[in-house]
Amino acid sequence: MLYNEPSPLEVKVLSKRFGLQNSASLDTYLATDGYKAFLKAREMTPEDIINEVKKSGLRGRGGAGFPTGMKWSFVPRNTGKPVYIVVNADESEPGTCKDRLLMEYDPHQLIEGVMIAALAVGAKAGYIYTRGEFRYVIEILEKAVAEAYDKGWLGKNIQGTGFDFDVYLHTGAGAYECGEESALLESLEGKRGIPRIRPPFPAVAGAWQSPTVLNNVETFCAIPPIIRDGGDAFAALGTPKNGGTRMFCISGHVNKPGVYELPMGFNMLRMINEVGGGVWKGKKLKAVIPGGSSCPILKADECDLPMDFDSLAKAKSMLGSGGLVVMDEDTDMVKAALRIMKFYAHESCGWCIPCREGTSWLKQMLQRFMDGRGQSTDINLIGELAKNMLGRTFCPLGDAAALPTISIVEKFRDEFEAKLHVAAGSYEDANRFVQIV
């Protein structure tokens, strides 16, 4: 059963098996082009595989949008150390719920993507790091991995090709921070998920200090179609430098929230109105968080743009993880800012002081507005405090907390002003009185 009705506007490449009977089984996978890309890649040189991925224009689907082929090319060869593949399945960016579906409906596509990455960089083992809350997903993956071993698609001498590869499953236990690649690696090593200082990057010193390819679930899932049908075909689906399709997660105030696979560069307003069924209850659009709660918010009049990494960057926001959070005209933006900040304050690992202190102070200041005790000087102070966090932390969590806050204060200042504390006989009180009169 699917969680939401598909849209006729979808272009199903990664999600083409969603809705098929027993879509997670090896039989269904093999009957629908499964593992063909692996066999093709086995005949290619590692350089050719990486070039094909580069040609596809695939950029990291976790949120950063780094070109995948280039990331793979950074893995050094012949260091004498083993090379690892690590899958980031710690999906926890608010607004994002796509990796769950990719693993639930088509786990073999992920396994095949991991295997092809292994061929490209010479790895013999891969780890899938799944967030602990996704227990049923882990069970589906366990079944798929067992089936693949059973039928000779994993393990020694896979399908007689002479290639050996193992896949292991690993689970987190509740920590947003572990979705950040270096914190994830710490967690994989059995430690608190605290970011590492980079360089060195994981490509050089990742899991257990060995060279590591670390990508998001969706990124790996795009690899089999790219190798099977060619990088050019995948690239042609999207816009220049933003190849392929993307799993967009539409949530919030729309009539048809859901996860939809659409070409990169799909217009955001069309996405909300035609795919997501428009703003609910006949209301007007107020704002959109375009790619998960870490992204600067866009006002309704800023949303007529193509959904790709470069267009969103130009609009001073981010495509992020593809989680589109839609807000109607009645949304209390101060409340939204506070809820987002509560999340980051809860999830800050505490390692870097600007993030640890910044998130908790911002939370308190935003709470003060919600309690009707906001001071006029607080409005600028919130923005300044948040700006002081930018670029001053080891991982992007500090920025992730600051960016949406800065944008909400700048774009919806009037809502903060409406929540100012009005003391009897104060200037604000008098001013407000005059305005009312």
Partner: protein, 163 residues
């Protein structure tokens, strides 16, 4: 300490899943699966996990405080987790959490006197497009209304009485 045969075989597999000498990697999954079986992380479990993974009890202890799913206090038999993060908030997640709190008579991270239910206001669980979302133990429930939540909780309570 011995666990159920299923958990013993899972642990055995965990300990061979990582490169040689890297059994510390098994600490977090081992704690989580053992906690599911025992109900909470006890001092005895900490020492057992440390022994099996070849690390100091302190190294086990230090991750418990970090990961939100690991807990030393026993939760209810049914741990009700209501998400109030942004996507859920927009479509009634906060009201749903308060409704659950009133119905169960307990607050955030509290356990009912009979030990059947515990409640937690949780962060994003990855169900944003089907919000508001609730997880009871590991089971996801999507687009949950207060009435549906009542039915779910009443159903659990009734099934318990029959047992």
């Amino acid at each position: 300490m011995t666990f159920s045969p299923e958990l013993e075989s899972r642990i055995e597999k965990m300990l061979t899943s990582y490169p040689p000498g890297r059994t510390r990697s098994a600490v977090i999954p081992m704690l989580l699966y053992a906690q599911d079986e025992i109900g909470a992380i006890t001092q005895e479990l900490i020492e057992e996990v440390a022994r099996r993974c070849g690390v100091l009890p302190l190294q086990v202890e230090e991750v418990i405080g970090y990961y939100s799913m690991l807990h030393k206090k026993p939760a209810g038999k049914y741990h009700v987790q209501v998400c109030t993060n942004i996507s859920c908030l927009l479509v009634g997640g906060e009201e749903l959490y308060h409704h659950a709190s009133e119905k169960l008579g307990i607050g955030h991270k509290e356990t009912a006197a009979d030990g059947l239910f515990s409640l937690e206001e949780v962060e994003c669980m990855g169900a944003c497009s089907w919000a508001p979302a609730v997880q009871i133990n590991y089971d996801f429930h999507h687009k949950v209304t207060p009435e549906q939540l009542d039915a779910l909780l009443d159903g659990i309570r009734q099934a318990q009485r029959v047992q």
